[in-house]
């Protein structure tokens, strides 16, 4: 870093901003991303149009077979199942998260708000696998839930709580709930209480205020929270593996199989691209919704 030539003007306005070399500070990170992010993604884009070799690896021979195969009802079913699981997870996170974020955001004391929020985030900062494992301990046939229910005399035989869709959704909700609450809280906290009070003074009922005032104003936060939960849920593979027992697989498990077990990298790449395109569609919808809500707020 020898680019310390003094600037020519020498006026009082000069500073590090006018240090010519300092624009180069952008370079290392973007070069890093060009090599270790963009190139690898372009690589799987390209290799999804090639054939798998007889012993794994890639044979450089153009084909659409991987995408044709990915649209096979069997694999399309896996993608659809993943979308359903991710969607249900997102809805449950919202139903739990919105009242919670609302309660925290409407506490008058900022210290109380901060404390309640930290308490929501704290479990999230422990290892994801450990949090998933906790549900195995709770839900297995000799687990805490079954033992407690038997102890209370509510059931005779243990319930099958683990290794089904319920356990998968439970694990995902537990894993990603704070990602819903944080953006909702950020949006609700910015909302002036006067707006709701004005609606109340004008005779609107609380539910109507929620529907016509609060929800539209915090829409960007809702959309952000939903995206934050949906995206990692859709591509997740440890949770369906550990809590779903690997019986019904999600698209993440399928990609995992192609890369580490089936050794069909081109097909795995095609699946990863389909996952990415679902998320792209989602982000486009998100930006549309945000633009729409901004227009509403400008009109108001």
């Amino acid at each position: 870093m020898d680019r310390t030539e003094p600037s020519a003007d020498g006026g009082a306005r000069r500073g590090l901003a006018h240090w010519r070399g300092s624009r180069l500070t952008l370079a290392p990170a973007f070069v890093w991303w060009a090599v270790f992010l963009v190139t690898p993604i372009v690589l799987i884009l390209v290799s999804s149009f090639f054939r798998r070799g007889p012993f794994g690896g890639v044979v450089y021979e153009l084909t659409l077979a991987n995408f044709v195969r990915a649209f096979d009802p069997l694999y399309l079913g896996v993608l659809w199942y993943s979308v359903q699981i991710a969607f249900i997870t997102t809805v449950i996170c919202f139903l739990i998260g919105f009242p919670a974020a609302y309660f925290i955001a409407t506490r008058p004391n900022p210290r109380v708000r901060a404390a309640l929020l930290v308490l929501v985030v704290l479990p999230f900062l422990t290892n994801f696998l450990i949090r998933t494992y906790a549900w195995i301990v709770l839900l297995n046939r000799e687990g805490v839930v079954n033992q407690s229910l038997r102890g209370m005399g509510l059931i005779d035989a243990p319930l099958s709580l683990l290794y089904n869709d319920f356990a998968v959704v439970m694990g995902l909700v537990y894993g990603y709930l704070p990602l819903m609450i944080l953006p909702l809280y950020a949006a609700l906290e910015r909302l002036h209480p006067e707006i709701r009070e004005a609606a109340l003074d004008l005779g609107a009922r609380p539910l109507r205020i929620l529907r016509t005032v609060t929800l539209p104003l915090v829409l960007p936060g809702i959309v952000a929270g939903c995206v934050f939960v949906f995206v990692p849920s859709l591509g997740n593979f440890p949770v369906p593996q550990l809590l779903g027992g690997g019986r019904r697989i999600m698209v993440g498990n399928l990609i995992n199989q192609q890369f580490l077990e089936g050794r069909d990298w081109p097909f795995g790449s095609a699946l990863a691209l389909m996952l990415m395109s679902v998320l792209m569609i989602l982000l486009v919808v998100q930006s549309r919704v945000l633009r729409h809500s901004r227009e509403i707020q400008l009109d108001a």
Partner: protein, 271 residues
């Protein structure tokens, strides 16, 4: 009207109680069972023991994996914080480009499994041997983005006139950076390092695809969970919980310093 408001408030309080129970009971169960003197991780209490902690500290595979993870996290943090800080400086001071601004978030939008397989394909193409090194390169991809975002928030409240004063007094740009700019943004850099380190220690999916035969701590925990439910995992979980709590408290204290302290460098820093 008032009645329905009070009703809503009571309903919300019940909701919050249930929410915190949902968040914490599973973890409390793990901690309690880690002290249970039973062969299997069942709920019935068979007496207090710390032998599972002894088992953890005598498990060479687990300790080896922990060591590997710490080295990987330290290296990924170093790269991420160095490049992320430079990036934050560049973005905050030299760009009006919204394209660049949003490009910074792209690494965080790519699903981890996609990044994992993309890097695995890339490494095999360039014949880079898989192991701790390849995980460090992978973790830095999102580490840089996190570090840049955190350092940027600190740069936003920066009083540029103190840099200009230093330059006007004839100090060159690089010494000015190290004596003025760096001490002021240091809390941001420390929080960035803590966040990236914690995330790297916890990261499983990308490491799983790019590790080759190397076993990181999350990978070891994953195979232990798949192998079976044992009280030893409960002890590991409790230790991890404790570790995370300590890091969080440190991060909160650093953050508190940020909001209350004067945003000017300490006395000696201007030398």
């Amino acid at each position: 009207m008032r009645e329905s408001r009070a009703g809503t408030a009571r309903w919300l309080r019940i909701h919050m109680t249930l929410l915190y129970a949902f968040l914490y009971l599973p973890l409390v169960v793990l901690v309690v069972l880690s002290f249970n003197d039973a062969q299997r991780a069942v709920v019935s209490w068979r007496g207090f023991t710390t032998r599972w902690y002894g088992a953890v500290f005598e498990n060479p595979e687990l300790l080896g994996a922990l060591g590997t993870t710490m080295v990987i996290a330290a290296m990924a943090t170093t790269i991420s914080v160095a490049l992320g800080t430079l990036l934050a400086l560049g973005l905050e001071r030299h760009t009006r480009s919204s394209v660049l601004d949003s490009a910074v978030y792209f690494p965080l939008l790519v699903p981890d499994i996609v990044l994992g397989i993309a890097l695995l394909s890339f490494y095999s193409l360039i014949r880079l041997p898989l192991g701790a090194g390849s995980i460090v390169l992978a973790h830095s991809v999102w580490g840089i983005a996190f570090a840049a975002a955190i350092v940027r928030t600190r740069l936003r409240g920066f009083d540029r006139s103190i840099e200009e004063a230093s330059l006007d007094l004839g100090v060159r740009e690089v010494p000015t950076f190290f004596r003025i700019t760096l001490p002021v943004i240091l809390p941001g850099i420390v929080s960035a390092a803590l966040v990236v380190f914690t995330l790297s220690v916890d990261e499983f999916v990308i490491a799983y695809f790019t590790a080759g035969r190397t076993v990181t701590f999350p990978i070891q925990v994953y195979s232990m969970i798949r192998f079976g439910v044992t009280p030893e995992i409960n002890a590991v979980a409790t230790l991890l919980l404790g570790f995370s709590m300590v890091l969080i408290v440190v991060a909160l204290l650093v953050n508190r310093g940020r909001t209350t302290s004067d945003p000017r460098p300490p006395e000696g820093a201007t030398g």
